[in-house]
């Protein structure tokens, strides 16, 4: 049997997936890291990003901060934090929060910056308060870019969460580190396949969410004939007319 076949065999073997040491539990740990880190990062990065995007102040700091954070070697950070916080889940979780912040921060302020200045000016001229401009105009129109940021955070963390095992933090990395020590390559491959599948699944889900949060009016089709007074009946063949509800 080839290596890939052996890897698949490892995955489907009940001895490997069932029980508190099985890969199902390890996968849930991987997901706990992913969503836990994203939740904490969102609480920090979204308000900060919105503030930067709305006021335009501190943009340079935000850009260099997110750039610098991105360049941090996650493996080194985990070990460094584990030296301080001890082994277990705390050091990896904190590391993943740090990894998750930059894309969310960038998505939050880029989303605000992408809103047409004229739209914001009009909202203000109508008599919206700054808070209303933010919540009723900038947040809904900036949502697709924010979700895009969350999406890349999720992807990065779900893959990196494998490293947690190095400081006894559990998750799917347990199998991989163990397999390298015992030269059990089918196990290493099987676990890697699960990590990959998890990443792909998350990517798909977030891509879908990102599509769903685009405000209807923004994706609405422009009229074909700009002089048209009223919607005209279309021919029955061809692409159906896309309209707001």
């Amino acid at each position: 049997m080839n290596l890939l076949g052996e890897g698949i065999a490892w995955i489907v073997d009940p001895a490997n997936y069932a029980g508190p040491q099985g890969w199902i539990v390890r996968m849930l740990e991987q997901l706990f890291y992913t969503f836990g880190a994203i939740a904490v990062a969102a609480v920090i990065a979204i308000p900060l990003g919105y503030l930067v995007g709305h006021t335009g102040r501190g943009r340079d700091i935000a850009v260099s901060l997110s750039g610098g954070f991105r360049a941090l070697p996650s493996f080194g950070v985990i070990i460094l934090l584990a030296l301080g916080l001890g082994i277990g889940f705390k050091a990896p979780l904190l590391t993943f929060v740090i990894i998750a912040i930059p894309p969310i921060l960038a998505g939050a302020y880029a989303g605000f910056e992408a809103v047409d200045r004229k739209t914001i000016d009009a909202a203000r001229a109508m008599g919206m308060t700054e808070w209303q401009v933010m919540t009723r105009v900038e947040v809904p129109l900036g949502l697709p870019l924010l979700i895009g940021g969350v999406r890349s955070s999720a992807l990065q963390v779900v893959a990196t969460a494998t490293l947690a095992a190095y400081v006894s933090g559990g998750a799917l990395g347990v199998f991989i580190f163990q397999a390298f020590a015992t030269r059990d390559y089918p196990q290493a491959l099987g676990a890697s396949v699960i990590v990959t599948a998890l990443a792909l699944a998350l990517e798909g889900i977030f891509a879908l969410i990102q599509k769903l949060v685009v405000p209807r009016g923004v994706v609405a089709k422009e009229p074909k004939d700009v002089r048209a007074r009223a919607p005209r009946p279309r021919a029955t063949t061809g692409i159906p007319v896309q309209e707001g509800k």
Binding site: D121, G127, P223
Partner: protein, 279 residues
């Protein structure tokens, strides 16, 4: 809603100066009285400070010195947000909120003012009639509308809170000439029907003469070259700048009468007939 009694909406500029942080003096000790329930057009080339003047009325821009009074009340003592909600504002490219349906765009200001959503929407539908839009467009999004239709929605939104002042900042600058002419006629009709104080900014002198009861011709730095009715300005341009700006020195506005077959035919400078004079 408790309707505040609004005055007739006379607007006064008293030695208003605006210097921007970069040092540009957009408006320099500007004085003007804008009569109530009439259309006043601020006209001039770009950089003459006309938009700055307009935006100072609803405190989108605050003057560096001087004061602006509405019915005798200094606007610097009023909260900007409250002031803006009682002044209609129509801008170029409509400035509609792309994520809201037409009806919700129109209903925005009344809802901000605390009118129940249902009432605000019912009123928004009526306003679509007022600006000549089919009610079937209410559930569309701005992008699904043509430029002219969007502009009408913009006017409807400006009127939604029933303001006594309507500010229009080159509202028809981005639509084609045919639609533009329609919208101009519509604006005249609305102003006459509703009796609002309209302050209109344009760089197009023909538009200014068509819409304005009072036309203010501006030179760089917000200096007034001439104020008057279109007829007064044409009959008596204050200086060469005005004469050239209104085209009095060009063929179009210099008309002569020629007698043809016992009737008075009006011809322009090139001798091209433009019409017949009625006795």
């Amino acid at each position: 809603m408790v309707r505040r009694r609004l005055g007739p909406a006379m607007i006064e500029f008293r030695s208003v100066t605006k210097q921007f942080p970069d040092g540009t003096v957009a408006v320099d000790s500007f004085d003007l009285v804008i009569p109530p329930r009439k259309t006043t057009v601020l006209v001039g080339s770009s950089g003459c400070g006309k938009t700055t003047l307009l935006r100072m009325i609803n405190r989108m821009i605050d003057p560096t010195s001087g004061s602006i009074l509405i019915d005798g009340e200094d606007t610097s003592g009023l909260a900007p947000v409250k002031l803006r909600r009682r002044i209609g504002y129509v801008m170029q490219n409509s400035g509609l909120l792309p994520h809201r349906k037409v009806i919700d765009n129109v209903a925005t200001v009344p809802i901000l003012n605390g009118v129940p959503k249902k009432d605000a929407r019912a009123r928004a539908l009526e306003l679509l009639d007022t600006v000549g839009l089919d009610r079937s467009l209410a559930s569309k999004y701005p992008r699904q509308l043509s430029g002219g239709q969007q502009q009408r929605v913009g006017v409807a939104r400006g009127l939604a809170a029933d303001p006594n002042i309507l500010l229009m900042d080159e509202p028809f600058g981005a639509v084609d000439p045919i639609v533009r002419a329609e919208l101009q006629q519509e604006t005249i009709r609305l102003q006459e029907g509703l009796g609002k104080t309209v302050v209109f900014v344009t760089h197009d002198i023909d538009e200014a003469f068509l819409l304005g009861h009072q036309v203010v011709i501006l030179q760089k730095g917000g200096h007034i070259a001439q104020v008057g009715s279109p007829a007064e300005i044409l009959a008596n341009p204050a200086n060469d700048f005005v004469a050239s700006f209104v085209g009095a020195d060009r063929g179009k506005r210099v008309l002569r009468i020629e007698r043809v077959d016992g009737r008075d035919v009006v011809v322009d400078e090139n001798g091209t007939p433009t019409g017949v004079l009625q006795p």
